[in-house]
């Protein structure tokens, strides 16, 4: 069993009009289909940006001895920027590869030993970018969880829309098509039904009953006599429906 289940297959657009180089690349593709796939071979760069936006190639192979990479156009690319490999008959064009932050530069005539290494480098680079991105995103998620980022719900009534911090909500009670919000600043009425709110309220909220969604931060006690009830910090006592009792107890114990 391999750790990476499927090897990444690179999709590539080639900008080249030298027949020999094109042939080398096609032979390389035929021998390495598992890793390398040519989307198209273009003999002019005017459509580079639209081709990239349409086909989202992983990489571009560009003949630096024929074309000049359109740096000015790059901010029109709306998809993930493809990795660049420059190829040329002239060593001096390596400078262009650095200037455009290419991942590799290969001298023509193209040698499959160098092409395979380029492909390897691109695959590895994409893996690293993805791993880094994952790390950054989960770091942000962790910080948000710790700081308990303020969440809000909107309360819609005939004449206004109020934005309420979820931390201020003690519990919600269904009233037909409406929902009553019991907050630290008093009662508020919304014209949306409770079902719509139960999906929005997460983390510290639990639907204890088809008529009640409670914020566990405001529960002082859970009474287990003649059924299960929540006693809130303002003195209100709410029933927990029989169906929900077990999952409610589990929920409380985990928080």
């Amino acid at each position: 069993m391999y750790l990476v289940v499927d090897m990444k297959k690179l999709s590539v657009i080639i900008f080249e009009n030298d027949a020999e180089a094109i042939q080398s690349l096609q032979i390389f593709e035929a021998e390495n289909r598992v890793l390398f796939s040519i989307i198209s071979i273009e003999n002019d760069i005017t459509n580079l940006v639209s081709l990239v936006n349409e086909f989202k190639p992983d990489a571009i192979i560009l003949a630096a001895d024929i074309f000049s990479f359109p740096e000015a156009e790059l901010n029109k690319i709306v998809v993930r920027k493809p990795k660049l490999v420059f190829i040329s008959k002239h060593k001096e064009d390596a400078f262009k590869a650095y200037a455009n932050i290419a991942l590799d530069f290969i001298l023509k005539p193209l040698n499959p030993n160098y092409l395979i290494v380029s492909v390897y480098r691109i695959i590895r680079y994409i893996e690293m970018e993805n791993a880094y991105q994952q790390k950054v995103l989960s770091g942000i998620e962790d910080i948000n969880k710790k700081e308990n980022k303020a969440k809000h719900v909107t309360i819609t009534s005939v004449d206004k829309i109020e934005i309420l911090k979820t931390d201020a909500i003690m519990y919600c009670k269904a009233d037909g098509k409406y929902t009553e919000f019991y907050t630290v600043k008093g009662k508020k009425l919304s014209s949306k039904n409770i079902g719509e709110y139960s999906t929005l309220l997460e983390e510290h909220f639990f639907r204890i009953h088809h008529s009640y969604v409670v914020n566990i931060k405001y529960i002082d006690e859970v009474i287990k006599k003649n059924g299960v009830f929540c006693k809130l910090s303002n003195g209100d006592i709410l029933p927990v429906s029989r169906r929900k009792q077990e999952s409610f107890i589990n929920f409380i114990n985990k928080k």
């Binding site: 069993m1 391999y2 750790l3 990476v4 090897m7 990444k8 390495n32 598992v34 890793l35 499959p112 030993n113 395979i116 290494v117 390897y120 480098r121 695959i123 590895r124």
Partner: protein, 129 residues
């Protein structure tokens, strides 16, 4: 056709590394046969099964260190305990990922290790071993 090595064994859990090395070996006729394992455990079983058949044992083993099931260090421990019909076989080249501290790694390696390189394995390296 003469090959530099009769048989090379690669042990690495990463498919892309195996692909690259195998391509370089095949394209440049560096070995007649290439055998690939993605963990040390299966590689050890192969060697145990063929310890008396010189022809089936690899001349060179390219060994990755960080793998699941049995890592490179454990592989080396077990390998040093297997009596081979030809002790010139199974020369190990440790292939490390360049992020790891190589000095600490080197201190853990056994006498069976003849060569040491970093990923990615280069053609130049294979040609000059």
């Amino acid at each position: 056709m003469s090959f530099k090595f009769h048989r090379i064994m690669m042990i690495d859990d990463e498919e892309i590394d195996n692909y690259l090395t195998k391509a370089l070996i095949k394209n440049n006729n560096l070995a007649k046969k290439v055998i690939v394992f993605n963990n040390g455990f299966d590689a050890i079983n192969y060697i145990k099964d063929h310890k008396d058949i010189s022809d089936k044992l690899p001349d060179l083993i390219l060994l990755d260190i960080y793998m699941p099931k049995m890592d490179g260090i454990e592989f080396l421990d077990v390998l040093s305990g297997i009596p081979l019909v030809d002790e010139g076989k199974c020369k190990v080249c440790v292939v490390s990922s360049s992020v790891i501290d190589n000095d600490i790694l080197k201190s853990k390696l056994s006498k069976k290790v003849h060569y040491f390189t970093k990923k990615p394995i280069t053609l130049n390296f294979l040609q000059t071993i």
